[in-house]
């Protein structure tokens, strides 16, 4: 029994990632997709918050969405795993529930 949380909006524009991190449980996974992939990059004003969250929950980011936006998968915050759509499907299968934070 665990949840895959997905977030799709930039933390600079919306509060949804913050809300997600405030509710995810220790065994849960959080996947950043679409415009949320910006949150995964090191060196941003949000990076420290995400690194903190990564201490207790598993963090993932969708590679194709990073690349589309010209963001280098090699530069994501330590502890975030870059996956593709296959990995997204695996995460959705491995967790019992998917919670999309919109």
């Amino acid at each position: 029994m665990s949840t895959l949380h997905t977030v799709n909006k930039s933390p600079f524009e919306r509060s949804s990632l913050q809300a997600c991190l405030g509710h995810a449980q220790a065994s849960d996974s959080v996947l950043l997709i679409e415009d949320a992939v910006m949150a995964a990059l090191s060196g941003t004003a949000f990076a420290a918050k995400l690194a903190d969250a990564g201490q207790s929950i598993k963090l993932f980011v969708l590679g194709p969405d990073l690349k589309a936006r010209g963001l280098d998968p090699a530069k994501v915050v330590n502890g975030i795993t870059v996956i593709d759509y296959d990995g997204f499907v695996d995460l959705a299968a491995e967790n019992s529930t998917i919670h999309s934070w919109l």
Binding site: T6, N8, I33, E34, D35, P64, D84, Y85, D86, F88, V89, D90, A92, A93, T97, I98, S100, L102
Partner: protein
């Protein structure tokens, strides 16, 4: 494993429909089943038969239609949300069907996993 998918936004303006399509395709390619794709809120706009995007871009509606054709995926458009937004039998693209919201709840019950894509 059986996946249900909920699409909340229309084509082009938001990436949600593209993301849902890529997820569905990847799931099928990995041997999973898509129990149903349900289109709600502005998501119903994915079922318009009138869309003609520029030739140098993807065709969101055709992508869904091909998925339905190739893999018998059930594409269901909410009747009430469609009426509000002008998606009715007259404007419906082949491959989609119009039905009630109960089809979404039923997908939530019958599918092993329900995944939502929205704004």
């Amino acid at each position: 494993m059986k996946f249900g998918i909920l699409v909340n936004e229309g084509p082009y303006n938001h990436q949600a429909s593209d993301s849902a399509y890529r997820f569905a395709k990847a799931a099928i390619d990995k041997g999973h089943e898509i129990y149903r794709v349900f289109f709600y809120y502005d998501g119903v706009l994915n079922a318009t038969k009138h869309s003609e995007p520029p030739s140098d871009d993807r065709n969101v509606i055709k992508n869904w239609q091909k998925l339905a054709e190739d893999h018998k995926v059930d594409l269901v458009v909410c009747v009430a949300a469609g009426f509000r937004r002008g998606i009715v039998e007259d404007s419906l693209a082949p491959g989609f069907r119009i039905s009630g919201l109960g089809q979404l709840i039923e997908a939530g019950i019958q599918a092993d996993r329900m995944v939502t894509f929205g704004d």
